[in-house]
């Protein structure tokens, strides 16, 4: 099964028409998903991104999702500080974040494996996470590496806030947004039910047991586990058109 396309389509479905979505660096799957959403069910979504561009008209997705080329054909130039100001007014609807670790409460870690001062692995850092995870209307978390090492009981370091310990009210910490709405992995799509992570659907090619065996905490399993909806012909065509160079596969290598 074509997992990149499956993930892209799942991401695209998280964007509603008229909403503002934002992607950061190292996010070709998200960039393609945003393009896909805009060219299918969400023509009025506002595409904003780390390339400081609003509604770009680019020909094809770039390996760097901060590429200056994304400015061409945009309806506006909006700097990162300006975009963050707008997010701080509660007007950024959806933000997508990757996580090297993702825990059962939707917290993400892009900082360190191990101790902060003496890390086993120093990761690149969370970029906008600690800010936007509290500001965006909701966050969508993704990983292309669904495994016990990625999907963990508790992240070593909370870079991006999910539901934290699962008990605290995010609003009491100044959150403007609701927190993680979905986790999209190479194996399935997950949502949160009473602050626990729940299986929404499993991608074709994987079984429920694949998912459970590769998750480092107890997932909530619904009565009926759906299969993730497959990309349509039209969706695949749009994905291929915007990504002829197959950049969507880089993260799976």
């Amino acid at each position: 099964m074509a997992i990149p396309e499956m993930m892209i389509c799942s991401m695209a479905r998280e964007i509603k028409d008229g909403e503002m979505a934002f992607h950061g660096l190292a996010s070709p799957l998200v960039a393609i998903a945003m393009y896909l959403a805009k060219n299918t069910h969400a023509p009025n979504m506002i595409y904003s991104c780390v390339a400081e561009s609003i509604n770009p008209l680019y020909d094809k997705v770039t390996l760097s999702t901060g590429d200056p080329a994304l400015l061409r054909g945009a309806t506006a130039y909006m700097t990162i500080p300006q975009a963050f100001d707008y997010a701080q007014k509660g007007k950024m609807d959806v933000m997508f974040f990757g996580g090297a670790q993702i825990d059962k409460h939707g917290n993400t870690n892009l900082s360190v494996i191990g101790d902060y001062e003496k890390p086993k692995v120093r990761l690149p850092g969370g970029a906008a996470s600690a800010f936007l995870c509290m500001m965006a209307g909701r966050t969508v978390i993704w990983t292309t590496n669904h495994s016990e090492k990625t999907m963990v009981e508790k992240v070593d370091f909370i870079t991006g806030q999910g539901f934290l310990d699962g008990k605290v009210d995010r609003r009491s910490l100044g959150a403007l947004g609701l927190g993680p709405s979905k986790v999209i992995t190479n194996m399935g799509v997950f949502d949160f039910y009473e602050k626990g992570m729940r299986i929404e659907s499993v991608h074709p090619g994987f079984t429920l047991n694949d998912v459970l065996d590769n998750t480092g905490f107890e997932l909530i399993v619904p009565e009926k586990v759906e299969e993730t909806r497959k990309p349509t012909e039209k969706e695949l065509e749009i994905i291929e058109r915007i990504d002829p160079d197959q950049i969507r596969k880089v993260e799976f290598e």
Binding site: A26, P124, G125, A127, F131
Partner: protein, 267 residues
């Protein structure tokens, strides 16, 4: 207006060891790489680097033992992989990394650019990024009118800011075409500013479009003519990022052969 033209060599020499240096650009784009390479060549020591989302400029200086501390929200090579030298030096405890989120770098630079000791921001609470700063540079405050909890970010005032731009006149009137990447904030926040530029243009040309001057001359201390000065990073409207060069860098570093890279591209 005073002419401020310098050679790359003079510009790099003017950056003191142990100073804090903000570096313009973002990720693979418009970092002042020619000047960074010259700094490596001159073996600057003990620098504190400041940036938001950084790549080769930080990793090369860190790998070349020029750096004692870095402040940033991201240091990496996007989907080409982790920053090998940054990662190694932090894991070995050889440099200190103060992890920020983009917004605290932006807010700290903005504070300094505005001549203020701090600015407030929302967010951050609940993230372990707060703990990294332990009240030193990020601190919870009560908003004076509403009582809301906000986070105060201490002003970030680099000793030197270095950026690469498409054009400058000899006095430092600088045009940045396309994305700004906070280069303007870094300039306004800093005690001293060096601009490298693809082209040195006449002030008469600058005067034709004052609204295109991203940085006015009086904020600039040195101007260097540096064609291809961002390479291998992109420079919008001039050249794209050379991804093969970045791949070569990463391959060599992963093999422990940073010296080979430096021999080939820096010395």
């Amino acid at each position: 207006m005073k002419e401020k033209l310098l050679t790359l060599k003079e510009a790099a020499s003017s950056i003191d060891d142990h100073s804090s240096v903000a570096i313009g650009g973002m990720s693979f784009h418009r970092a002042p790489m020619a000047l960074v390479r010259e700094m490596v060549k001159q073996t600057r020591k003990g620098l504190t680097l400041i940036g938001r989302e950084e790549g080769l400029s930080f990793d090369l200086l860190i790998g070349s033992n020029c750096v004692k501390k870095a402040l940033a929200a991201y240091i990496g090579f996007e989907n080409l992989g982790l920053a090998p030298n940054f990662r190694k030096k932090v894991e070995k405890g050889e440099i200190k990394f103060e992890e920020h989120a983009c917004q605290s770098i932006v807010t700290g630079l903005r504070a300094s650019a505005m001549g203020l000791p701090f600015l407030p921001t929302r967010g951050f609470l609940g993230s372990d990024v707060m703990g990294v700063h332990n009240g030193r540079d990020l601190r919870v405050i009560d908003s004076p009118f509403t009582g809301e909890k906000l986070v105060a970010v201490r002003a970030i005032e680099p000793d030197v800011t270095i950026i690469h731009a498409q054009m400058s006149d000899p006095y430092g009137n600088t045009r940045i075409i396309g994305q700004m990447f906070e280069d303007d904030l870094m300039v306004k926040a800093a005690k001293k500013v060096i601009v490298t530029a693809e082209e040195i243009v006449d002030t008469d040309d600058i005067r034709k479009h004052p609204e295109m001057t991203a940085i006015p001359h009086f904020m600039v201390d040195g101007v260097v003519k540096a064609p291809k000065g961002a390479y291998p990073c992109s420079c919008y409207c001039y050249y794209d990022a050379d991804m093969d060069h970045f791949r070569e860098y990463l391959d060599l570093c992963r093999k422990g052969a940073l010296d080979g890279y430096i021999d080939k591209y820096v010395r």
